[in-house]
Symmetry: C2
């Protein structure tokens, strides 16, 4: 028995999310089906976390246990031959038996992409939110800084989700601009349900003048959902990076293409 | 009667190309159909040139004549409400009656995109060529320089296409690298059929060691198709920019989003 971990890229547009749901196709079940064909037995895959319907991953991490004699690094190639083009295994390798995609994760990084232009794009309709109204980008950048550090993010979780501890630590929270595209990058030790989408929506409210920086401060001091802003739609969101003590998806992917 | 010109962005994956063909849906007919609904009469649209099946446009230029009283700058908004998400009108405005999308064009710029990585991408399957073999990128950059200037590009046109004058002038021919992505940019006063795809394929042959820089030089000195390399597939190619004496798509698009 060995434990295999993978880095998975997927365009979430055609899926109900990572996890199996009654109302459509999940990324997890698509991969599990091909894995079963490959190793001959039903094999459960555990990811670093769920992603919602329409959310994408540049680097989702998932693991499974198998008795298969396929070399660990060959699972990526073998699975890619039969997976649909919008799901790609970018890496596979052996992990120690105590590695767990979800419980061993230390940091996760997300990116929210916005196309800020008069008209939508023929290329990014499913991967970036289109905003055509005026935005105060500098104010959005200031708002992003307020989230860095350890805060009670109770105002930034979908209402109705029950969870004991809503304190999370954010290490990186910043906007980057590339011509028409605005990218929000956020990295933390964990995220509440819909947290990145509410963070982004709140900063959009700031950019549109519907909320002030003081309003944002208040939402962290009095952490109630009514003090934060709108929830940005799912399709702008991408899981970018997962870090473990012995495994960093960015590092692995960079090494894979080095000296290529 | 007034002449309206437009800048059009399209993802060519689902189309047989710009021009109407018997075997599938063309970008031109999709737009003409919505334009007819809008202005009430069948209206022909003339583009700066055809693009092949699967080829994309970031900035195709096209014009039409109309008696409609819709303000020139409103055609983009009106058409976008009914066009499919993979075709977007990014600009519309009035042009002088002697402007012609094709005959007035001075420069055109194309980009060929290559994902150079061990595995394909879940996001760019339709918009970038995936290459997983080793490439000598420096040699490819040297080869690109050889194309700059006025040359007989007869070796770089699809065989079987008859055309008198195969001399073209190339002003820009260079590769840019962004992590895993390799982009070839080429701008000239005109292009022969399949020219950019054969230029790219030839440079890929150089990168893979199947052709030398001397071979490329020979293909320009003895301009026969057998001395150039392979034809790169259509889906990596995008029409990026068209320039006229009084109209530059890059400039227009930049101004549209300025101070936004």
């Amino acid at each position: 028995m060995k434990r295999i971990r993978m880095i998975i890229e997927y365009n979430g547009a055609n899926y109900v999310g990572w996890q199996v749901q009654p109302n459509g196709l999940a990324v997890q079940e698509v991969i599990e089906k091909q894995l079963e064909r490959l190793v001959g037995v039903k094999t459960v895959i555990h990811a670093s976390g769920r992603t919602d319907s329409g959310v994408h991953a540049y680097a989702q991490v998932a693991h499974f246990d198998t008795e298969s004699r396929i070399p660990a690094d060959k699972f990526s190639y073998a699975l890619n031959t039969s997976l649909p083009a919008d799901i790609r295994i970018k890496y596979s390798g052996e992990a120690s038996p105590d590695f767990h995609s979800r419980f061993s994760a230390k940091h996760k990084q997300y990116r929210y992409a916005i196309l800020h232009a008069p008209h939508a794009s023929a290329f990014y309709a499913n991967t970036a939110l289109h905003i055509h109204s005026r935005l105060d980008f500098d104010k959005m950048c200031e708002a992003a800084k307020l989230f860095v550090g350890k805060h009670d993010f109770n105002a930034y979780k979908a209402s109705g989700t029950d969870i004991e501890n809503t304190v999370r630590e954010i290490y990186l929270s910043e906007w980057k601009k590339d011509k028409n595209m605005l990218y929000y990058f956020v990295e933390g030790n964990g995220f509440l349900y819909n947290m990145v989408r509410i963070l982004t929506g709140t900063m959009l409210d700031v950019g549109m003048g519907r909320m002030s920086l003081d309003d944002v401060k208040k939402s962290l001091e009095v952490p109630e959902r009514k003090y934060s802003g709108q929830t940005a739609p799912a399709h702008g969101l991408t899981l970018m990076r997962v870090r473990y003590d012995d495994f960093d998806t960015d590092e692995i992917l960079e090494n894979l293409t080095k000296g290529f």
